[in-house]
């Protein structure tokens, strides 16, 4: 197990290094000069040159890559061109919004999807199953930003239960802050839950058709015992895979959802930085997101080994 984990970790680190080079190269070839954007249409060439010097944009590309890379190893992500504050500070301010949002929607979607999956699998083909599966089809088809607008209309404008957007800040109290994350989390979670529920259902149905399940039934176990003791654990491998993939989707989804709900999260930061050509911020956040996805994949790989020890032994 330990060997397996170390191997996966090494592969993950190499992936991250390669990703950092690709990210830096891709973003640096974007057209548009950050200094010119900041000073606008009336600026003199002289003022633009002064600003380029201030921002260190006149240094060669590979020099900038290496100083950026080594800086990140020590936790220094550079200084934002537009905000003129350390990128690490910007990221820290935003993570406290995005991470709780992503975790909350992941928890919500799992909490909704797994019971639905189990319930429908055990009632396969009956009216309840058909109805719920029809509803999940709708859930998959709904784009999350549209769902977000509907939720805002009902819960914020008509019922006035929660704010229409914005983030109150954790310093205003946990409940007030959580309240501003509830609608966005639901908007992100529902479409994901629909997918997850279908995967859980089909994987469970497949497992329930296996020979050893028939054996378990034959030796006189109750349907519940068969389901929870024998079938569920084996059915979970594809579910965990999808969960890992969904986390990456959730991170991408936050870019749209954070704009709809004007939440000051990482997604908003990336979006804003791209339009302002605050390249160093974009690079920092994207590397962080890539690192998160790689970390999640690593954890998913490790959890396979926990669910099914044969997988670790084989490799």
């Amino acid at each position: 197990m330990a060997n397996y984990a170390i191997r996966r970790l090494f592969i993950s680190l190499m992936t991250l290094l390669a990703a950092s080079a690709v990210i830096f190269a891709l973003i640096e070839i974007l057209p548009g000069d950050p200094a010119r954007i900041m000073l606008g249409m009336n600026a003199s060439e002289e003022a633009i040159r002064s600003l380029q010097e201030q921002m260190g944009l006149n240094q060669p590309l590979f020099m900038r890559y290496f100083s950026w890379l080594f800086g990140m190893l020590t936790g220094d992500f550079g200084r934002s061109y537009t905000y003129a504050v350390p990128v690490a500070d910007l990221i820290r301010e935003r993570v406290v919004v995005s991470l709780p949002l992503a975790v909350l929607s992941l928890v919500l979607s799992t909490a909704i999807a797994i019971p639905i999956g189990i319930f429908t699998a055990s009632r396969r083909g009956r009216p309840a199953d058909t109805a719920i599966m029809g509803a999940t089809q709708l859930g998959i088809a709904l784009p999350n930003f549209w769902l977000a607008l509907l939720l805002v209309y009902v819960f914020a404008i008509s019922l006035r239960l929660v704010p229409a957007g914005g983030f109150a800040g954790w310093e205003t109290g946990t409940w007030t802050a959580l309240k501003s994350l509830l609608l966005p989390a639901f908007a992100l979670a529902l479409p994901q839950a629909a997918i997850l529920a279908r995967i859980t259902r089909s994987s469970l149905i497949e497992t329930l058709a296996e020979d050893y399940i028939r054996t378990a039934r034959a030796k006189g176990l109750s349907p519940a015992q068969v389901l929870y003791r024998h079938a569920l654990r084996n059915a979970f491998i594809p579910v965990v895979t999808i969960l890992g993939l969904q986390f990456a989707f959730l991170l991408a989804g936050t870019i749209i959802i954070e704009n709809v709900f004007y939440l000051p999260g990482l997604g908003r930061l990336v979006f804003q930085s791209i339009t302002q050509r605050d390249l160093i911020v974009v690079e920092g956040v994207v590397v962080l997101l890539v690192a998160t996805v790689i970390l999640i994949n690593f954890l998913v790989d490790c959890s396979y080994a926990l669910i099914d020890p044969r997988l670790a032994a084989d490799r």
Binding site: N42, A43, A84, R94, R160, Y262, P264
Partner: protein, 492 residues
């Protein structure tokens, strides 16, 4: 007077004063763009001025709600007979928000900093005419110009010309320190900026104790935030299509004003076929401005026939010179040697007036045989390719700076328009201080542009303001991009 009556009277007085105290003194305003930082002397972003202008920072003069020049930190001024020497008498007892005293040293520091070789001021051109700045005594400053400049007092009212203190100039981006009626409170990045009443303000105290600018970039979210009551004012509301919904809702006041934003269809005057006057005229006559404004701006916006804001006293309506007339347009095109029309490109920056307007204009041009291929660009690309590189045929953009008729007199500007007579005219205007004479010259300049058509003039951008019916004192028009909160109060 019986005991009863006096008791009743006392009760009324108590209740009356209580309700006066109960009037709200906080306001949440929505803005579309988050400023990159909060130093108006180091960036072009209008989003900076929308928060700090007149609220946190003040200049020698300031621009009022209707575009007039008002005294600010300078209580009065004298202009020498030759128009070159301005002597400003400064207000005494003015304190910066950090408690330091404001005087002539700060004025000299701010202006010298803005025109320094290392300056990153986005409007450096405003200060180019200054020869030197002298401190006569702590509250008197004498500014000598290289040549007379009729716009000088106006220029000193720009957000880029505000007075900053030497001690805090370097940190104003994060923690702005000015002399205004509001001081900086807090900036939750990506979310909101809070200003607090400056109790030590030298002028009259504002009614608001706290003003919060909440950043809401998405038009649908802006609508929802107003309807849900999360924000109580949106001075420049981004979603034209939902304005009618608010107009019929008694909880809101909808105020449509004008701005300094002249929206034009820019043409590359140096590139054939746009170097031919008849081609430019044909394009201008092919555009139905009414249909364009209805389709793009949902009817909000004033048609213009030259490059001048309709709310200005010297404005003259020249829309007739490029009236919609597709037959005439076809004829002009044929005379210019393009009876079958031609193919060209139309490069569009992101704002909705350009993207939506571009499609309508492309369709109107197609009707006279000009096939314009639409190329959508990001701002960064637009600035690079069109504005700096001048690599374009047609483009749509709104010029939002005030007092910017002179861009058509600039060398190396993206229109590639070169008319020595017009340049001479702009020089004369700059050197003229007499208001009646200036108005006459402005009218002349507008006519030259309407005849020469270096661009097709489309419409003046509207300022669509929506706020709670209980709020008053916000600007109707946008003579500069600012949200002056000094007179804003709740009426109930």
């Amino acid at each position: 007077m019986t005991l009863w009556r006096s008791a009743l009277l006392a009760l009324t007085l108590v209740l009356g004063s209580a309700s006066a105290h109960a009037a709200r003194s906080d306001l949440v305003l929505g803005v579309v763009l988050e400023p990159p930082h909060l130093d108006p002397t180091a960036g072009a972003a209008a989003a900076i001025d929308e928060i700090v202008y007149a609220n946190v920072f003040e200049g020698l003069t300031r621009i009022g709600a209707n575009g007039e020049v008002l005294p600010a930190l300078a209580e009065s001024w004298d202009i020498s007979d030759d128009g070159r020497v301005y002597t400003f008498k400064l207000h005494g007892k003015v304190l910066f928000h950090d408690g330091t005293t404001f005087d002539g040293e700060d004025v000299k520091f701010s202006l010298d900093r803005a025109r320094d070789a290392k300056s990153v001021n986005a409007q450096k051109v405003l200060f180019e005419g200054i020869e030197n700045v002298e401190i006569v005594d702590p509250l008197t400053v004498r500014i000598t110009l290289k040549q007379p400049d009729g716009d000088f007092l106006y220029n000193m009212g720009w957000g880029d010309a505000v007075i900053v203190a030497p001690e805090t100039a370097a940190t104003n981006k994060e923690r702005p320190v000015g002399t205004g009626p509001f001081k900086f409170g807090n900036w939750a990045k990506g979310s909101q900026i809070t200003l607090l009443r400056n109790t030590a303000y030298w002028g009259s105290q504002p009614a608001l104790e706290k003003a919060t600018f909440r950043i809401i970039p998405d038009p649908a979210a802006a609508t929802a935030a107003l309807l849900a009551g999360d924000v109580q004012a949106f001075p420049v509301f981004p979603s034209y299509e939902t304005v009618p919904q608010f107009q019929t809702d008694p909880r809101f006041k909808v105020v449509i004003g004008t701005t300094e934003g002249e929206t034009v269809l820019g043409m590359n005057n140096a590139k054939p076929p746009f170097d031919a006057l008849k081609v430019r005229q044909a394009i201008a006559h092919a555009i139905d401005r009414k249909a364009l404004i209805d389709g793009t701006m949902f009817g909000f916006g004033t048609p213009i026939g030259s490059f001048f804001p309709p709310h200005h006293a010297a404005y003259t309506d020249l829309t007739a010179k490029s009236a919609y007339d597709p037959e005439l347009a076809k004829k002009l095109l044929a005379e210019a040697g393009h009876p079958q029309g031609f193919k060209t490109t139309l490069k569009l920056p992101p704002p909705v007036y350009a993207r939506r307007g571009g499609e309508i204009i492309a369709a109107q041009l197609a009707a006279i045989g000009i096939e314009a291929q639409i190329v959508p660009l990001e701002w960064a690309q637009w600035l690079d390719q069109v504005f700096k590189g001048k690599d374009y045929d047609l483009t749509i953009v709104s010029h939002t700076e005030p007092n910017d008729l002179n861009i058509f007199a600039r060398d190396d500007y993206y229109f590639n328009y070169n008319n020595p007579a017009f340049k001479e005219l702009i020089k004369t205007i700059a050197a003229t201080s007499d208001q009646a004479q200036r108005a006459e010259l402005y009218r002349e300049a507008q006519t030259v542009l309407a005849d020469d058509m270096p661009a097709a003039f489309l419409f003046q951008l509207p300022k669509t303001g929506i706020w709670d019916a209980g709020v008053e004192g916000l600007w109707e028009n946008g003579p500069i991009q600012a949200n002056d909160l000094t007179n804003v109060r709740w009426t109930d």
